[in-house]
């Protein structure tokens, strides 16, 4: 079968599963007075359409910041504005100032879901396809299989098409950025990534590797001459993009400050989720390194520290490596989906959670032959082998990993089942969400260590590969 037909089948499957998940409930459905993220997005359409730009981020009589005030950068606001124009055409009641608060109807839900699908088709899905096409090893069938697995990642589908968010926009733009860098189009890559940053400030976590990579590339080309010129061009692109995005807010010095205050509410505290995140940046670093030229070896690994993050930012880089270390990547992605269980149950998304997780598990294990491609070499367990060589030389590390994989899946399934079916004891009403958090955290800790060790091993692995080739 030809490539184009395989890729289109893959896309259609991804789209069908997305839209089918969208049939289910969204966050805050039927739960006044605050509702949820769905209402927040609708409210932003209302605010951006009805109010002048300089009032969007400020607390006024028309704009109550306590009721889902805008806390994403301007590009989200512009996106909401565009959606609001369409909404106004279809049914003005949807964006009526004040009167549309808490508006819920079947046709409105269809409209909102359609906006997510539209941006997904426009931005995220093409980026995934191009990424798999250009940067995946293997036959075209393997590339399609990888694309399908990435598109079927449950976490993104459940959050974007269930809970309701527009993560596919920022993640898609970031992916375009990676694509740009990978294909050598630095300016395009910087532009795309800057746009991603201006859509959701969480992309800052991915910004460090971008910055380091580009800086390193320019240094390599020589700081005097071509390298400097390149650096100047990139910086200019970034600055101009920022300026264009923030232009309406630059007239008054109070404006950008207020926007920044909304984006980074240091008053609220950083530790809303107990998830470590620096390795996520390192992960993208791994990926870019394996694709492209070496960064200067003077760059040392960053110290571990805790950041706030949404699971999507963690999972996206891991999605990209799914073809390289399938078993670990699949394991990780399932864990990240599992970590959102309390949220999904609250939103009434239990059925899609179960179905998409199981589907992702079985299909990706099968299509990527994850269980067969799990020798020590393929699982990058080199450093683990070195560490255990002295005390336990006969340990079959790959079998241990596989056993741990299955055991953890069983644990996650069991905890999912009990948190839905059983009543928590009266003394600990939050028992199950806490258990989910703890289990996820332990997993993520293990993954941080693993990915860091893989990162350390990377230069040596490349050297030995070059020797054997």
């Amino acid at each position: 079968m030809e490539n184009w037909s395989l890729f289109s089948l893959c896309v259609l499957l991804g789209l069908t599963s997305r839209w089918a998940v969208s049939f289910h409930s969204y966050s805050g459905a039927g739960k006044p007075p605050m509702f949820g993220d769905y209402e927040a997005q609708r409210h932003w359409q209302e605010v951006t359409y009805n109010l002048p730009v300089h009032e969007w981020y400020f607390n006024t009589t028309n704009n109550d910041l306590n009721y889902w005030g805008l806390d994403y950068p301007p590009l989200t606001a512009y996106h909401s504005l565009v959606c609001a124009y369409v909404a106004k055409l279809l049914n003005p009641e949807w964006v009526e100032l004040h009167a549309s608060r808490g508006y819920e109807s079947h046709s409105h839900k269809l409209f909102m879901r359609a906006t997510v699908l539209f941006t997904d088709i426009l931005i995220y899905i093409p980026a995934v396809l191009l990424y798999c096409f250009y940067f995946c090893d293997g036959s075209s069938k393997q590339k399609v299989a990888t694309a399908l697995c990435i598109l079927l990642y449950p976490g993104l589908i459940l959050i974007d098409y269930g809970h309701f968010q527009y993560n596919s926009v920022s993640l898609g733009l970031a992916l375009w950025g990676i694509l740009g860098l990978g294909l050598g189009w630095d300016l395009f890559g910087s532009l795309a990534f800057t746009l991603a940053l201006n859509y959701k400030q969480m992309e800052l976590y991915h910004s460090l590797p971008f910055f380091c990579y580009l800086l390193g590339k320019c240094i390599k080309q020589g700081l005097i001459g071509r390298g400097f010129f390149q650096l100047a061009k990139i910086s200019l692109t970034v600055l101009v993009t920022f300026a264009l995005c923030w232009m309406p807010f630059l007239s008054d010095p109070k404006q950008p400050l207020q926007v920044l205050h909304r984006l980074f509410p240091f008053g609220r505290g950083l530790f809303e989720d107990k998830v470590a995140n620096t390795w996520c940046s390192l992960n993208v670093l791994i990926k870019i390194k394996t694709l492209l030229i070496h960064l200067p070896t003077t760059l040392s690994p960053f110290p571990l520290s805790l950041y706030v993050s949404s699971p999507q930012n963690i999972s996206q880089p891991v999605c990209l490596v799914i073809n390289e270390i399938p078993l670990i990547a699949i394991w990780f992605l399932l864990t990240s989906t599992f970590s959102m269980l309390p949220l999904l149950v609250k939103d009434g998304l239990l059925l899609p959670y179960v179905v998409t997780s199981l589907a992702f598990l079985f299909l990706s294990l099968y299509l990527l032959s994850a269980l067969e491609r799990s020798t020590e070499e393929e699982l990058r367990l080199g450093l683990y082998r070195k560490l255990t060589r002295h005390w336990l030389p006969k340990l079959n590390l790959s079998r241990i990993i596989k056993w741990k994989f299955w055991f953890s899946l069983v644990a996650m399934a069991a905890l999912s089942f009990t948190s839905v079916w059983l009543e928590p004891p009266a003394k600990f009403p939050d028992l199950f969400p806490v258990l989910v958090s703890i289990l996820s955290f332990l997993h993520f800790l293990g993954f941080i260590i693993y990915f860091n060790l893989v990162q350390l091993m990377e230069p040596q692995r490349k050297k030995s590969q070059k020797k054997t080739n």
Partner: protein, 545 residues
């Protein structure tokens, strides 16, 4: 470097496909469901709550039991599992009861019943000729599996609209597979069971009857393929008859004993309904209706007809009605029955036709050798498809879903021969499109478009790859016709609802769809017909044990 061909295991790809489609079906649990959902809930309730003597008399709900007794027993069995989900659904007066647990149970029952279909497909794959050394995506068994398991019509009708066709077609395909494997007693038994599950399969009973009589009861053919009267085996006929009669006895026995047979039959064969559904199935009567309408409009325009004297034909409502024709002769049930019988009769093996082809075959032995089929089951399958399609074309009160009876068996032929693949593509794309009006909600619109594209792209690409030697599968005219479905869809579902005419002529998109698809279906029917007449020489050459 990491490089591994992902699908090298023997049969693991089958389970992957089956599991994948099951997950998709699970995601569709919350989709729109039609009144058929309430129909089956009602049957669960009445088989569970009422004694057997009441089953065919119960009329609290308008959706009375109109399937044969074995299906009623199937619902009875399901109802015992339903107890664990929601007891309220089994209360007969709870009309239109659709709690989340009810929806979950009913949907899951369809998904689980599809296991029969999976098994049947696996058996059918065994009947195919396999070329060794082909990569997975080019294997006929892989292509057939996807065409059957991921069939658009089944997904839409069973898992959204709501019916149990997967389970029923599983029994049909299993019966066909058994005949291909020369296990004729099992095949006959399965078909009798099928008839007692849903009597619409009576349409293809003639194919079974004649095939078993001609190719099984007459144990041998002569060297030239004609009938050898002396090889008639009474034993086989008697055993077949016993199998069929005992199945019917088990099914209808209790009702005959209760003296309820007339009542049961009147439920199974309600002749009061009009010729056409509110939405016309794309068969010959759609073309007849449109011709009638066209003539009446022209007639009024040219003052040949008085508009007051024309009967007010209403095609717009959602209920089934009598349809009076204005210009052309009005069609009665008897007329359609006669037409149906005629179209089927011509397909039956005829010794005159055999003689003609004997002469042809003596002139072209080499060609004949290439065309030789391993067994007579292919001809039987072709005959079966013609019967199904013929009855769809001319049938009384045909629902557009009945086209599935022709498409699924045709898939088996499509992976075997080029011509059949071309006919299959025409028929399947057209008839799948004709199912679109079944899902008229906006929410399901993307799903039906995505799934339709999925199936169409796969069938086109895979069959093209399978038969890449020997030119294109579809000629330019056919391609144009199929591409014409895209503007048709855009007009009917996107442009037309925004125009003024939506209020005055709301049925127009349906009529357009029906007529356009009727052209394609009729064309496919004629081509299949011709291919049967030109292929029947191969059936006579085979020797059955």
């Amino acid at each position: 470097t990491v490089m591994a061909a992902p699908m090298t295991n023997d049969q693991s790809w089958f389970y992957a496909l089956a599991l994948g489609v099951s997950f998709l079906k699970c995601l569709l649990i919350n989709a729109y469901h039609s009144t058929d959902f309430e129909v089956h809930r009602n049957w669960l309730a009445l088989t569970h709550s009422l004694p057997v003597s009441q089953w065919y008399y119960e009329a609290t709900s308008e959706w009375t039991l109109d399937y044969p007794p074995l299906f009623a027993w199937f619902e009875y069995g399901l109802s015992h599992i339903a107890c664990f989900f929601d007891k309220e659904m089994l209360v007969v007066p709870n009309l239109n009861y659709a709690s989340p647990a009810t929806v979950l149970f009913q949907r899951l029952s369809v998904i689980v019943a599809d296991v029969v279909f999976f098994y049947a497909v696996k058996e059918c794959c065994k009947c195919l000729r396999e070329d060794k050394g082909k990569d997975l995506l080019g294997k006929p068994s892989f292509i057939l599996t996807v065409l059957l398991l991921w069939n658009f019509g089944l997904l839409i009708v069973d898992h959204i609209h709501f019916q149990y066709n997967g389970f029923l077609f599983g029994v049909l395909l299993l019966s066909i597979a058994r005949h291909c494997q020369n296990r004729h007693f099992e095949g006959a038994f399965l078909f009798s069971v099928l008839l007692n599950l849903k009597h619409i399969y009576l349409y293809i009973a003639p194919a079974y009857g004649i095939y078993l009589l001609r190719c099984f009861c007459f144990t041998q053919s002569n060297a030239d393929g004609s009938l050898q009267w002396r090889s008639f085996s009474v034993v086989r006929l008697v055993i077949l008859g016993t199998i069929v009669l005992s199945t019917f006895a088990v099914s209808f026995g209790p009702f005959i004993a209760l003296g309820q047979l007339p009542q049961v039959l009147s439920r199974l064969f309600p002749f009061k309904r009009g010729l056409c559904h509110a939405y016309w199935a794309p068969n010959i009567w759609a073309l007849y209706n449109i011709a009638d309408k066209a003539f009446s409009i022209l007639g009024v325009k040219f003052r040949l007809l008085d508009i007051n004297k024309l009967p007010k034909a209403s095609m717009t409502g959602g209920l089934v009605q009598e349809f009076q024709h204005s210009v052309l002769p009005s069609v009665s049930p008897l007329a359609t029955l006669v037409c149906t019988l005629l179209s089927i009769l011509v397909n039956l093996p005829n010794s005159n036709i055999y003689t003609i082809f004997v002469i042809l075959s003596l002139l072209q032995p080499a060609l004949f050798k290439i065309w030789h089929r391993p067994n007579g089951a292919r001809g039987f399958l072709r005959c079966l498809v013609i019967c199904a399609l013929g009855s769809f074309m001319f049938g009384w009160h045909v629902h557009e879903k009945a086209i599935m009876m022709a498409i699924l068996p045709l898939s088996l032929l499509a992976v075997d021969s080029r011509k059949d693949a071309g006919i299959f593509l025409m028929l399947s794309v057209t008839s799948h499109y004709s199912l679109f009006p079944l899902l008229f909600t906006t929410q399901e619109l993307p799903i039906k478009i995505f799934l339709m594209l999925l199936f169409t792209i796969f069938s086109l690409a895979s069959l093209k790859t399978l038969f890449r030697k020997g030119g294109a599968l579809l000629n330019p005219l056919e391609v144009t016709y199929l591409l014409g479905l895209i503007p048709l869809e855009l007009i009917c579902e996107f442009v037309y609802p925004l125009t003024v005419w939506q209020k005055t002529f709301p049925f127009l998109p349906l009529m357009l769809t029906s007529v356009y698809c009727a052209l394609g279906v009729t064309y496919a029917f004629i081509r299949l017909y011709i291919s049967l007449l030109t292929c029947s020489d191969t059936t006579k050459k085979t020797k059955m044990q």
